[in-house]
Each structure stands twice: as C-alpha cells, then as structure tokens.
C-alpha cells in the first residue's frame, strides 16, 4: 500500500490530522489498532478550553497564563500562546461539523470551570465531551472520504537510506499478516501511555504508548516522559474516572471524618498529592456531590452517576463516592518542533503521544481536547506539505523482526503477571510522590523483566485475531516506555508539577 501521508491512530488527533492532510491535497490512509470511535478520546469528559467568555469574563491571555502556571515553567510559551489563540477557531470548527455542545439559554456554547482555570472556560457536551467530538470527527471523515483501516497494529517504522521515515510495518490483527505501508510522511497519533500503570489508570486498556516505543526504537527523541498526570478522583476500586467537572460544578473532597481538607479546584497535581497524603495517613477519601441535587446530577453528570453505581455500588445522589488518584494523562512523549515534526525527517506526531510542550509538568483540565484539535491540524498540514514536496524515496527492508522472533520465545514466564506487577510498582514507586531509592528499585525491576523477555511469550499460536500476541507486543512497549519514565524521573532531581520528589 502506498500513500502520501500515513497516520497511525484514529482518535481525535489522528482524525483531525487526516482531515487536514487531505484538505492540503495529500492522499491519506489512517490505521488504528481498534476502530476510530473506540479511541481514548471518547473517554474525555469534562470539556475543551477556549476563552469564549460565554459564562463570565475571560481572555486568551488568562488562558495562556493559567496554562503556563500549571505547567510549572516546563511549557514552551510560544506553543502555549498558539494553542490558546487557536482555541476559539478550533471550537467554532467543531461546532460547525456538528458537535452537540451544551448551550446556554441564550444560545451560546455553555462553559464550565475546571481546576486551575480563572474562568468558566471549558466548552462541554454534558460529561460526554470527548465522545461527541470523536464521533463528529468520524462522521466528518466519512463525509470527506478519508480512508480508515481498522485493527492494524504498528510494529515498526520504515526508513530510507538517508534515515528519513517513509512508512510503517503493520500487523493486520484479523488476518495475522504483516503488511508494509509506504508513505512520504508518517503522522504518529496513537495516544498516551497511562496504561503502563495497569489497573491504577483511568485509561482504556489500549493506552500502552505503542507509537512512543516504536518511534524511540527508530531513533526519535522523547521528552519529559516522567511527567505523568494523576487524576485526583478515580473510583477507588476500578480507577474509572469521575470527571473534574463534578468538582467544577461544586463537588467536595472529604476524608473519613467527613471533613474537607483541600481546595477542590486546585490543579490536579496539587489535589492528587493532598489526597495521596490523606490516604497515606490511613484516611479514606470521598467525592461528595450530594448537595448538587438529583436533577442537576442527572442533567449535567449522567455518566458519573451511572459509573459510580455500577463500579462502586454507590449512588452519588445519596452516597459519598470513594476515590483515589490514578494515572490519567501523560504529558511526556515524542519530541516535536512547532511544525509537529519529530527529530526524524518525514515523521510527525500529535495528540497525547507527542509532546508539543503545551502542558509542561502538569496539564490543565480541558487542554487535552484542545491540543488534539489545534496540533492535529498542524501535524496534518505539515505532514502533507512534506509529503507533497518529497515524493521520491527508497525504503529499506525493516530491520526489526520482533514479531517473528517472539514466536520462538519459551513462554515459561507469564507476561500478564509481570504486566500487573509493573502497574503496581510504577504506582507505588514512580507515582504521585517519588523517592530516588524507589525509582532505582523500579528501574532494576524493569531491567530484569527486559532481560527475561525471551522467557516469556505467547501461548496462543493462532494466526487469526491473536490478542495474546498483540498484548505481548504491547507489553514490550510498556517495558520500554516504563524505562523512559523512570530514567526521566531519576534525571530530574528537582520536583516540578506532576513529578514530585519527596527527598
């Protein structure tokens, strides 16, 4: 298969990139290991920031300053300014393609306040904001005839003799066949890596940082991998997200004694540490939205109510919701410049797998949906321009052959047990509060697991739809990504935002 622009990942960032690459005049193929509407974007609940000022005074400058403050000096101010300025156009564009944003009585897009924001800035569609944006983007792609191929798993990147990226090697999950896709530019948009924290993450099981690990193997630079955002209010048992909007709308955070002990609208890193400290003291921590009333909860937070009932057997209308901080968003990722280009020629990245340095050490709620639209567009346009200007290349045979090698592995050790162990170790030792000694212990564990990879493997020998194999390939990516997080954390000795050193 040949195309101008190959896009890996069909969440919000990938689909926006695809629409824009096509509009720029390039042929486009989008590959996803799932189906587009199953992507992580569908889980974004709270909203998308834009200083529209529809619910009280706001300004682009205030949005910029809030974002920079939350980023703890680790953001690129130029990129932040660009994102916040583009936000208004981005929301307008989404509204125009049919996103069902909630409205005010006078017909404006409704806005709610999220943590760390000086104004009611997050545009939302009840608590289904990401779902509705993703589906509208999918519908728009159907309209524009964007070619999307489902259940295709990224194995490695193809490179030419000059070291430029010119395609990807893919596993067709359904047939088990390995396929090469040749392209003049590749956009990685495969999402973040919160799922390396295993069960201690709000994310989809698919958020294993695949493109980050693959890009690193191909020689691309990663940056700030240690910045992992812990969301203060995951459900205690299942880590299912209870959106920040629950606090934005007036919810309280309480300890076992029923006391409020922190500012509920502090940035996520601060609130997570406050809750973590309380839990470390032996307290249980609860989210309390009972005072908001049933009518309000049902209208504005229907999803939260449903999930709390199913997973914790509590009804937020009458009960306290048990919560704990869990891995939610990864600020780190593949290093990109202002044109979303990685350190490799022909390779672009956007969305959570990329690091445009707009979130720095701690992302503001409502800025991730914004980022995927603003930088999805940049990545799509710039990849298309690159592809149209560089239409000849000679790709070399891929060097990487792990997928065939691993079929010979001994399968004496159970990688699923190791995957769970990594999740627990990272949560305890590379989590909300970190210590040098524990980081080193975690690194040793990852190194040992990497060394024993040939003792693991797959027991399912089927060629067709072998999820045992796919999960093992993901496991290898989890190992590499975990190592990058830990190494970043060890190097950064001073606390900053989500990276908090106890010593």
């Amino acid at each position: 298969m040949k195309t101008d622009v190959l896009i890996i990942g069909a969440g919000g960032a990938g689909l926006v990139a695809a629409l824009n690459a096509k509009e720029t005049g390039a042929s486009v193929i989008v590959l996803t290991k799932e189906y587009p509407t199953r992507s992580q974007t569908c889980m974004a609940q709270g909203g998308m920031n834009a200083a529209l000022g529809n619910a009280g005074e706001d300004s682009v400058e205030a949005h910029i300053q809030n974002t920079l403050k939350s980023a703890h000096g680790e953001a690129d101010e130029e990129a932040v300014r660009f994102m916040c300025e583009e936000a208004i156009t981005a929301v307008k564009w989404l509204d125009d393609i049919g996103v069902c944003f909630s409205r005010t009585e006078d017909g404006k897009i409704a806005q709610r306040r999220l943590g760390g924001a000086s104004a009611h800035r997050a545009c939302y569609a009840q608590d289904y904001t990401g779902l509705k944006i993703l589906h509208a983007l999918y519908d728009k792609c159907l309209k524009e005839g964007v070619q999307i191929l489902n259940e295709k798993y990224l194995l490695s990147l193809l490179k030419d003799e000059e070291g430029g990226v010119c395609g990807a090697q893919i596993l067709d999950i359904r047939s088990g066949e390995i396929e090469n896709y040749e392209a003049n530019a590749v956009v990685l948009a495969s999402g973040g890596y919160s799922r390396v924290y295993g069960k201690n993450s709000t994310n989809s099981t698919a958020s294993t940082g695949d493109a980050i690990a693959v890009a690193q193997r191909a020689g691309a630079s990663l940056i700030d991998m240690e910045f992992v955002q812990f969301h203060p209010t995951g459900l205690k048992n299942s880590s299912i997200l209870i959106s920040e909007s629950a606090r934005g709308e007036g919810g309280y955070v309480l300890n076992s004694k029923g006391e409020r002990f922190t500012d509920e609208l502090a940035p996520r890193d601060e609130l997570s540490r406050a809750i973590h400290a309380e839990i470390s003291k032996g307290e249980e921590v609860f989210l309390d939205i009972r005072h908001l009333g049933e009518a309000f909860i049902q209208k504005q937070l229907p999803q939260e109510r449903k999930l709390a009932r199913l997973y914790e057997n509590v009804d937020p209308v009458t009960d306290l919701i048990p919560v704990k901080p869990v891995a939610h968003y990864t600020m780190g990722g593949i290093a990109v410049d202002h044109k979303s280009q990685t350190s490799l020629s022909g390779l672009f990245a956007c969305g959570e797998c990329a690091n445009h340095r707009v979130h720095g050490a701690n992302r503001l709620g409502g800025n991730s949906l914004l980022e995927i639209v603003v930088f999805g567009k940049e990545a799509g346009v710039n990849a298309a321009k690159h592809a149209l200007a560089n239409r000849t290349h000679s790709n070399l045979a891929p060097k990487e052959n792990f997928i065939n090698e691993c079929k010979e592995f001994k399968n004496e050790l159970d990688f699923y047990a190791s995957r769970d162990a990594i999740g627990e170790t990272l949560y305890k030792k590379v989590g909300i509060v970190r210590k040098k000694s524990e980081l080193l212990e975690a690194r040793t564990m990852i190194e040992e697991l990497k060394a024993s990879l040939p003792l693991m493997g797959v027991s399912d020998k089927s060629k067709v739809y072998n999820t045992n194999l796919v999960e093992f390939l993901e496991f290898r990516n989890i190992l590499d990504v975990s190592e990058a997080i830990i190494n970043g954390a060890i190097k950064r000795e001073v606390s900053s935002g989500a990276h908090f050193m106890a010593e």
């Binding site: 199953r38 017909g107 289904y128 299912i240 999803q303 027991s459």
Partner: protein, 234 residues
Amino acid sequence: MKISVKREDGFREYEVDARDATLLEALVKIKTELDNTLAFSSGCRSGVCGSCSVRVNSKGVLACARKVQDGDRVEPLNNVNVIRDLVVDMEKSLSFNEKSKAWLNVLDSNAQLNDQTQMINELQSDCVLCGLCYSACPVYSVNSEFLGPFALTRVWKYVSDKRELGAIEKLDAIQTNGVWDCTLCNECAIVCPQEISSKADIEKLRAKSSMAGYEDPTFAQSFSFGSFDGSPSF
C-alpha cells in the same frame, strides 16, 4: 462461579472467582489466568467505547456494564461475521453510516442553537456504535442490506440538527433498505446501553420523508396490486 463462553468449537466452561466483578473483568481474568487463547474486544471499561458488546444468555449487553452472574453463557453478537470467539467484524454495519450519509451535509451558518434546540439530538449523539442494535434487529437478520438502527439514528441526529441545510440528501439515501423496512418492533431500543430508541428515530425520519414527498413503498405497492385492505402488509 462458572461462566460458559462460545468458542470456535462450541461453548467452553470456565471456573473463575469473579464475585462482584463486571463481565468484562471476568473475561480478562479468564484470558490472563486460565486461557490465553480467548479472543474478545475491550477498551474503556466504562461504556463509552462500544468495544465489548456481546450476548449473555441470549441478550445483548456491554460486558463492562454487566455484573457477571454464575452460569452466564457468553456469545458473540448476532447477524455479523465472527472473526474469532467473541470478536466480530463491524465493517459491514459501520459501512451503513457512509451509505446513509450520516454527517452534517450543508452548514446553516445563520442557525442559532439554544438550550432547547440542542437537546433535540442530544440523546442520539450519545451513541457509541457498539452494534448491539444490529445484533437484535430482526429485519437486519433477514436483509443484510438494511441500513439498520445506529446508522438511521445518526441520520436523524443530523436531519434534526438545526444547523443542517442539506437534510434532503440524507432522506434520499434512506428510502431503499431504510426507514420503510423497519417493523418498529423496538428490539433495538431494548438493548441500547445508551437508552436510544432507533425505532423512535426511524418513525421521525418517516414523518420527515413523507413531508419531503416520499411514500411508504410497501403501502404504495400494496395499493397498486389492489390488495390493500387497511391492515399492515408485513
């Protein structure tokens, strides 16, 4: 507890400790601890990605939204090609979104939505494309070209959108194997995890179609053959 899962060679029974767990959690436990070869799809664990739709004791559910029960019999969806075990090929049903042109066609930039008008299609835009409605649809089970529940709900989402000026193109696209083929049996609404009634959306699309000058072909056909006696022809 005992859970039976339909595999390629028939039901296989698993003994698994999954008290108070969701069915999806039980399936994960089976796969990671008992049988690595079991194939199923999952994603968000919270009912918004639509990956884990299956049938349990013949009823369509999202595995992440059901508390598993002792004796549960788990099967793949109906009316769709099974790729392996519980994994089905969604391409056919998804292709109906394109065929029925379920997108915003021509934007009316003067249209002003408000709190009330945006509520018109708020429910329809909750759809997660899980495919349970196609599995339950008796029309789709006999006519594989029937555009089907979620595609028609998505059409209604855009047809009813105050910002849509180009609804007629969608109405054109849903006349054949579309709105008139539905028997209004409501099975799609019963299984929908988002409580959407495609049946109700199809009725509204019929009304819109009639207003646009389309006729119920079954009605017209019955009449032209002189057999119309006032009773439904299906």
